[in-house]
Symmetry: none
Subunit: 202 residues, 4 copies
DNA sequence: TAATAAGCGAGACGGTACGTCACGTCTTGAA
DNA sequence: TTCAAGACGTGACGTACCGTCTCGCTTATTA
């Protein structure tokens, strides 16, 4: 699982590493501050002070570069700092998390990045798989841990899988975020959690 | 709500009507048979046998053209032929509908079209609103009618809004379709409906 | 003899004509003021205020463009104003002409253009043929007319062909100009003519 | 005359000597078998199995490398093996030599090399001087020796300089070779010699 | 003989130009 | 008058070379 459109050179030297970092950060910055069609490889290269060939040497697509850029960002500031609380009250814990997700999606920078990621994922199946693996899968894993605890204490139906439970809670937010079918606020997050917990109760 | 990127000439003559139809059908055909980045205005014009200026005279964006094209398609073959069944058994009715949705999404042509629509919606907020209004809103209305009946017979919690209920059922499918987090089949549709009905039960 | 790398569009419109002229004059200007490797299609397009695609639509090579540019220039200011004098004294007439050629080659602009033409002619046989036809052949024709008169009056050996006689006079200048084997001045022109006339005397 | 773009390291070790030879021969081979624009420093380095930095360490320009390569070639197989015959019959002797030149120019390899040299000489004055000094000057010297003998025996006009006499014979061939104004064969060589000798007769 | 530094091949780097394609506008010729 | 056809200026595409640089590795000397 290494030949998915990234990092051809196995040993990044000092100079290479500078170029790589500059490219990733330029991509992030441009994706945030420009309409996505203007986030071109040319613009990223110029902003990063890097040759276009260097970009294409490392990433086959703009999509691959963007996914790496977002992964790079997440490595620095993990969303929700990497753990779902477990106070014993599943509904309260999930409410806190989904409220945090709502808050994140309200940050224009993250909103723009995520929309860009979705565009690339929709356009190219391979990039879609990469997005799933590197951006969503970690989140699913986080939720899965909390669900396991809830199952152990009998708070949720043991027959529901992790991904299914994850989608029960996150998909409505994702849908509303992407299609803007309504206000995406704490109240909605709470309502989604309330209904989700009812759906999962044993 | 008239300057949203469509139909500037209000009275299409005979000749321009032919051009309009040809453009819409060319857009549909290309969106289905080519990767989306290759569905260019030039390609659509060429396929339709229409001048590029004619396209830009009627639609400002490729997105606006595509939305019209999908609306044009839906006008011919309405999804689920325009009504949600009401046998009195909400869960059975919704299962039938969501299974149909799953089947639709499995058709490559519709899958490709919907992905293209989502790309445009993600890239441009105005197109997003148009997609919502013309593609998703009709669906929500369909569901709303069935929900109203269910509320009247006391089968679901009266305090849950139509959009919220819609998202409870549709968002998981949408999420799984877009991100390919797992198999999108009848079993998943049934499970989503089962959990949704539990969540909505009074 | 029309498909030799120029003028694909048979009827140049008003806008096209402006683009064509601007391109030709930009090419001339750049070939004169820059080292030849910097006379790029990109630079010509920029200087002409013309799209690169427009250049490539009309000329396949930089060479083809340059040949047209020089022909365009020659159409305006014919070298030696289009006729070789005939005072009855062949040696004097040719001296005057070759001195004029020497003077022309001393003009940096024409020197640069001619070197550029030779580069293109050396690199690509097809361009070479075009250069011969459009730049040198007219000169040969001019000399041929004068040689015909000289043959008629018995001043030169009737068995020597026009091209051979032309080369007898012009080749030494060309050789010295290109390889800088010595001073290229009026004295040299006179000496070349003197020897050439001796060689051709009946 | 040492900083003209060649041999900066005065003491080539064994390893670097191998690199030098490999580079020169790769340059020759590529100049013969490819169109000249494809004879790039990269291609030469690759063919020679040599680092690009090694090329640039020894030669500043592709032109300097090419001139050295041709000189390297000439060192092995001297053109006309280094002497112009002196049978006492100047015209016959020169005919033999110019026929040999014509034959050389008919060899595609030498034709290609000489065109490449001329391109470099035309593009860069410094390279032009180098070409003159290393490729043409030795030829002029050869002719000069024969002219001196002819002058001593009163066969040619003593007032004509060596370079002028050289150009009288060689320039027409050069001109015809470069511009392809006509057939470049033994007959033409003979005619040029015949006329040249008449021009030079005392 | 072992370390040590110089020179090498390899090739990544920041650039620039290539030749192509699509953008959205504008002009022309035919219907 | 409207339309298809397509040229126009613009600018991004992905590639190839430029000339410089940084790597390890090989060599040839110096301790």
């Amino acid at each position: 699982m290494d030949d998915d459109g990234r990092d051809r050179p196995p040993v990044p030297t000092g100079r290479s590493e500078r170029a790589r970092t500059a490219a990733l950060e330029a991509a992030l910055a441009l994706a945030v501050e420009l309409p996505y069609p203007q986030v071109t490889m040319e613009a990223i290269a110029a902003r990063a002070g890097v040759g276009k060939a260097t970009l294409y040497r490392r990433w086959r697509h703009r999509g691959a570069l963007l996914v790496d850029a977002v992964a790079h960002r997440n490595a620095r500031a993990a969303v929700g700092d990497g753990r779902i609380p477990d106070t014993g009250d599943l509904q309260a814990d999930l409410s806190a998390v989904l409220r945090a997700v709502v808050d994140e999606l309200a940050v224009p920078a993250w909103d723009a990045l995520l929309r860009a990621l979705c565009v690339e994922a929709l356009v190219d199946t391979a990039v879609g798989a990469q997005v799933l693996e590197e951006v969503f899968a970690p989140q699913i894993t986080l939720f899965a841990r909390r669900f396991a605890a809830a199952r152990a204490t009998g708070h949720i139906d043991g027959s529901v899988g992790d991904v299914e439970a994850f989608e029960l809670f996150v998909a409505p937010l994702f849908h509303r975020w992407q299609l803007r079918t309504g206000a995406l606020d704490h109240a909605y997050a709470d309502a989604v959690v309330r209904r989700g917990c009812r759906a999962l109760s044993p």
